[in-house]
């Protein structure tokens, strides 16, 4: 590994490693929030589709029910994946950066250094509010691709992290 960056002042071995971090899981209730949101949306779409096919005369019932069946099957599949994927989702706050991990089949780990954060917000959706949960959004400059959203945090936790971040960002600017 030392051959990677020849002139680096310290060897790569000594750098803090993202891979060794202890991930903080999301709040248990978030799984329910997530699934309720998923089912509400998917069943809503299914309802509109069924209403439409009953409204249009002569829509072949075979097509209607096979599409509805496929939709239902996909919904169940997504539910299982979300359920299994929940334990992967997690965040970590290190001394200099904030990280978020997600994805069962397609895993991603995103790290945003505090020095590159423009601002952060705590948000609360309708369903999240029923469970006392919040999401923390962290914004960077430029496009939205590198922005980070950590859902499923207890309101107090989200506020605490947000305050910690703004203190960090402010401290950086003063120096």
């Amino acid at each position: 590994m030392n051959t990677l960056f020849q002139n680096a002042q310290l060897s790569i071995e000594e750098l803090p490693r993202v891979a060794e971090v202890d991930w903080q899981g999301l709040d248990r209730a978030y799984l329910r929030v997530d699934l309720i949101g998923l089912w509400l949306f998917r069943l809503g779409v299914l309802g509109v589709f069924l209403a439409y096919t009953f409204f249009v005369e002569g829509f072949p019932p075979v097509v209607r029910w096979s599409i509805a069946g496929l939709w239902g099957f996909l919904l169940l599949l997504t539910t299982v994946l979300r359920y299994l994927g929940f334990r992967i989702k997690g965040y970590a706050v290190r001394q200099h950066d904030l990280m978020y991990r997600r994805g069962l089949l397609f895993r991603s780990v995103t790290v945003v250094p505090f020095t590159r954060i423009q601002h952060s917000e705590v948000e609360q959706g309708v369903i999240e509010r029923q469970f006392g949960l919040s999401s923390l959004s962290v914004f960077t400059a430029g496009g939205s691709q590198s922005d980070l959203v950590i859902p499923g945090l207890k309101r107090e936790d989200a506020e605490r992290i947000r305050n910690f971040l703004s203190q960090k960002v402010a401290a950086d600017e003063e120096e």
Binding site: M1, L4, F5, L15, R116, T140, A141, G143, S144
Partner: protein, 502 residues
């Protein structure tokens, strides 16, 4: 200089040409929104108007006149001035709004001129503040020297602020007026050469899209099947081999000339200057654009060639800086035809030390091919099955072409992809027919993402995405330990030092 600066300290209006520009903007807006209706109105067969129609038209006309009036009043209620450390704009006809833009939030100021501006002899000044979208400010009409003085003043103030903060003792000589040197200028022949070597297929695609969009909109407005009428009128449009050939040739010729014309008008008399602080670009025949970019704000530089360009030794270079959310690509400086030596000049003077950087090359895994070839096999299977079911031997061709051509492309892409790393810089080189090279200083990175699909996890591979405020770089299918080392190193480099990165 001092005199014109003073002009901005009191709230003032724009140049009077702004009225004309407001009206022009208004007309364009109306035409863009309502052109199908106007078209129907002009060409309809039945010339008599019913009462309801008359009422509707009267409403439209009155509404139009009213909006026109609003445009004029808007001019008289638009004020701007500079305060000690901010730009202040008051505007609004019904709802007055007060926008204060602190200099430290201003990323850059652009002087622009479209045809109308040139006719009226004024320029517009666009103020960009990164990060917060929707806070972009444009002053529509200013005398050129006023706009230049304003830009110079704001940039100077920003610099002083930055110096006060950093307390850099080596600073004083920087306030001396900056000498600019011309790096390159594109002549008419250069532009023709560049125009000819553009990607004409892309233009053809845009044309097809636009024509279909146009036909649908018009057909909707006339409630007639326009396409059908067209085909009936002109037998050459009828489906068949010759019709297709004629259409394809026509399309290519039109695309070719359109690209040529667009290239020439867009980059007409392109001049590219360098000074110690940054780069300046002036270009355009009808819409003359001037962009200034400070070197320290540059996030990454990309240069691209294609097979035709390679024959001429030309590259398209784009210089990316921090952009705000609502940004268009126009924000970035882009030069369509640079010689190799000019590319090196730009790169080395933007990123000092990149010339001497000790790069080590890394390849991506062959698994890249194995993973993506699946998506080429899928259409092959579909076409094969359809051909078999329909007893249609012609489907064999796409069934074979997809995996063969797609596979070739993937294989070449994997073979040619290179990631170059040095302690301070990161470079990628990718492309099959042409080549795109992206260079960025490691400390500009503002977020790192590692992605792993289930397929990659089994093979200990990962894709790395590095985001800067001006664009991102993606490296697919690296060995996992390399990807992690890269992530750890980039974060270490970004977090261990405080640098002015944007």
């Amino acid at each position: 200089m001092k005199k014109s600066e003073l002009n901005f300290l009191e709230p003032r209006r724009q140049a009077q040409a702004a009225i004309a520009i407001f009206i022009y903007k208004f007309v364009v807006r109306i035409l863009r929104a309502a052109w199908p209706i106007l078209l129907v109105f002009l060409f309809r067969s039945n010339k008599e108007q019913s009462n309801t129609e008359l009422l509707m038209n009267a409403t439209v006309v009155i509404g139009g006149l009213f909006s026109l009036g609003v445009s004029v009043v808007a001019y008289f209620r638009y004020f701007f001035h500079l305060e000690e450390d901010q730009l202040v704009i008051q505007k609004g006809v019904f709802n007055r709004s007060l926008t204060k833009l602190p200099f430290e939030r201003i990323q850059n100021l652009y002087i622009e001129q479209n045809v109308l501006h040139r006719l009226l002899g004024v320029v517009s000044l666009r103020v960009d503040s990164a990060g917060s979208s929707g806070h972009e400010v444009t002053i529509d009409a200013l005398e050129r020297e006023d706009a230049e003085a304003m830009r110079a003043y704001v940039l100077e103030q920003k610099q002083e602020e930055a110096q006060e903060r950093s307390m850099d003792p080596a600073a004083p000589e920087q306030s001396a007026p900056v000498a600019q040197s011309l790096v390159l200028r594109l002549s008419f022949e250069d532009l023709l050469r560049i125009g000819v070597t553009q990607n004409h297929l892309a233009t053809a695609g845009v044309i097809v899209g636009t024509v279909f969009g146009f036909l649908f909109t018009v057909a909707g407005a006339f409630e007639q099947d326009l396409v059908k009428t067209l085909i009936e009128r002109w037998p050459m449009l009828q489906p068949g081999f010759w019709g297709f050939l004629i259409l394809a040739t026509l399309l290519f010729v039109v695309a070719f000339f359109l690209t040529l014309i667009r290239t020439v008008t867009q980059h007409y008399d392109l001049q590219f200057f360098e000074s110690r602080e940054g780069f300046q670009l002036k270009a355009g025949l009808f819409n003359r654009r001037e962009a200034f970019m400070q070197k320290r704000k540059i996030q990454l530089i990309r240069w691209t060639d294609n097979p035709l360009r390679r024959l001429l030794g030309l590259f398209r270079v784009s210089i990316h800086q921090a952009i705000s959310g609502s940004e268009r690509a126009a924000e970035q400086i882009s030069i369509p035809g640079c010689k190799r030596a000019q590319v090196d000049d730009v790169v080395h003077s933007s990123f000092e030390g990149s010339a001497a950087a000790d790069f080590r090359g890394h390849s991506i895994s062959k698994a890249y091919f194995i993973w993506y070839i699946r998506f080429m096999l899928l259409p092959a299977v579909v076409f094969g099955a359809l051909g078999y079911l329909l007893q249609e031997p012609r489907f064999v061709l796409p069934a074979i072409a997809f995996p063969v051509l797609g596979g070739l492309y993937l294989w070449l892409y994997q073979q040619r992809f290179r990631l170059w790393l040095s302690p301070e810089y990161l470079k990628t080189s990718e492309g099959v027919l042409g080549r795109t090279i992206t260079l960025l200083p490691v400390y500009k990175v503002q977020s790192v993402r590692i992605r792993q699909s289930f397929f990659q996890r089994r093979r200990d591979l990962a894709s790395v995405e590095l985001y800067t405020a001006g664009g991102s770089v993606r490296v697919p299918f690296l060995p996992l330990d390399l990807a992690r080392a890269l992530q750890d190193y980039v974060l270490y480099r970004v977090e261990s030092r405080r640098e002015d990165w944007m």
